[in-house]
Amino acid sequence: MSKAVVDLVRSGDVRAAARLMRDLDDGIPAAQRTLRKIYKHTGRAFILGITGAPGAGKSTLVDAVVTEFRAQGKTVGVVAIDPTSPYSGGAILGDRIRMQRHYLDDGVFIKSLATRGHLGGLSRSTIDVVNVMDAMGKDIVIIETVGVGQDEVEIVKVAHTNLVVVVPGLGDDIQAIKAGILEIADIFVVNKADREGADRTRRDLETMVSLNEYEENEWVPPVLPTEAVSGKGVHGLVEMVERHRAHVFIDGNIERFRREKATVELFEMLKIRLLEKAVGDLERHGLLDGLVADIAARRKDPYSIVEKVVNHSFAANLIG
């Protein structure tokens, strides 16, 4: 059964791929088993991350960038992430609205995902879904993050090239976002360049970049203005993306990138599975509620309990 799915996905079958992505998003175990078989067929696609505050024009920019890539004859997958409401667990995924002209293009596959409580700008399924698109044979996979700002470090390890989209008129906010954002951006995009203050924002960013020290041969993030709505500046942006890509795919760089990415994949999966296993073990032995009560009443401390759980739950299994 899953062999058939693997073949279908690899042949680019939209229905099979869409279902597999959904199953991965929903955490269906069979889908994860399929993914194990698909993994070896991934690693071909070029992955482009786009992050920036809500309303900065990320989706519009994705639309324009897709147009450029399609003109080059490349096939594209888009993974667009929007936040889940913490109150209802529901979500409105509206990134597609900006990408309508690509709906009927067979060479473009768009998937909208909700964060479902995951932090860091992606959904927990994002890497899996990107892997499916990669296995489908998409040349480029574009990830649009939620755009909450500070905490979007996850994307860095997932995408080969990361665009950080900024809009004019941020003023002092540039100082505020400075900390995290410098490490994220391979290319800064000053979108809505038609608006007043674009030049100033661009200069501010350039100043910020220039205050950093870079080693020889290290990539220095350029700052490019765009008007995503009209497409102005987008051709130049895509050229710059190509240049960064060439930089990433230099021997030493790509080795390092692949190792970092593998590390993140491994850690992310471990984090999730270990937590599940520990909580599951405690539950199975009927210990969880009691331990929580003990900690709450200060009869026990969480430090010793975690230590015990970790030693027992995992070490025994690893050896045994």
Binding site: V14, S85, G90, R96, I97, L104, K111, V279
Partner: protein, 149 residues
């Protein structure tokens, strides 16, 4: 306050299996009346559904392609232009062609009562006209749209 039960139900980013109902809300045709569609999208989000909102001016082909890629369980369509008799059945037909006949198609807008039985016969599950409360609509979706096999 988070109870133990709540923590167990939502152990932060976990691999727990959870089938979420996904619904596409779209506006086929050429009219720009999107208030209704947006209000419905919000009400369904607040009821816990994942809504893919595709926006205005959609052709039936665009809606069905999006539904396929997003693997939705239901499609809610808003039409206030008068073109419902053509657009809604066409969407049902295209879904069948794509082997997605089990997607529940429903909708609302300015649709004369006389047209509703005809639309139902052509596979539109339910039509809501102005004045319907959001609760009625949410209840309908809860009862009738489930994760597809």
């Amino acid at each position: 306050m988070a109870t133990v039960a709540a923590v167990k139900k939502k152990p932060t980013p976990s691999r727990k299996t959870e089938r979420k109902v996904r619904i596409l809300i779209g506006k086929p045709g050429l009219d720009g009346h999107d208030r209704g569609a947006k209000i419905i999208a919000r009400a369904l989000r607040d009821a816990g559904f994942e809504i893919i909102y595709t926006g205005l001016h959609q052709t039936p082909e665009m809606i069905v392609t999006a539904a396929l890629q997003e693997d939705v369980d239901g499609i809610g369509l808003s039409i206030l232009s008068g073109a419902h008799n053509h657009l809604l059945p066409r969407i049902v037909e295209l879904l069948k062609e794509k082997d997605m006949g089990d997607v529940v198609v429903f909708g609302g807008g300015i649709i004369p009562d006389d047209d509703i039985p005809k639309l139902k016969r052509k596979g539109v599950d339910r039509v809501f006209t102005p004045g319907t409360t959001l609760k009625e609509i949410v209840d309908y979706v809860r009862e009738n749209v489930h994760p597809r096999a």
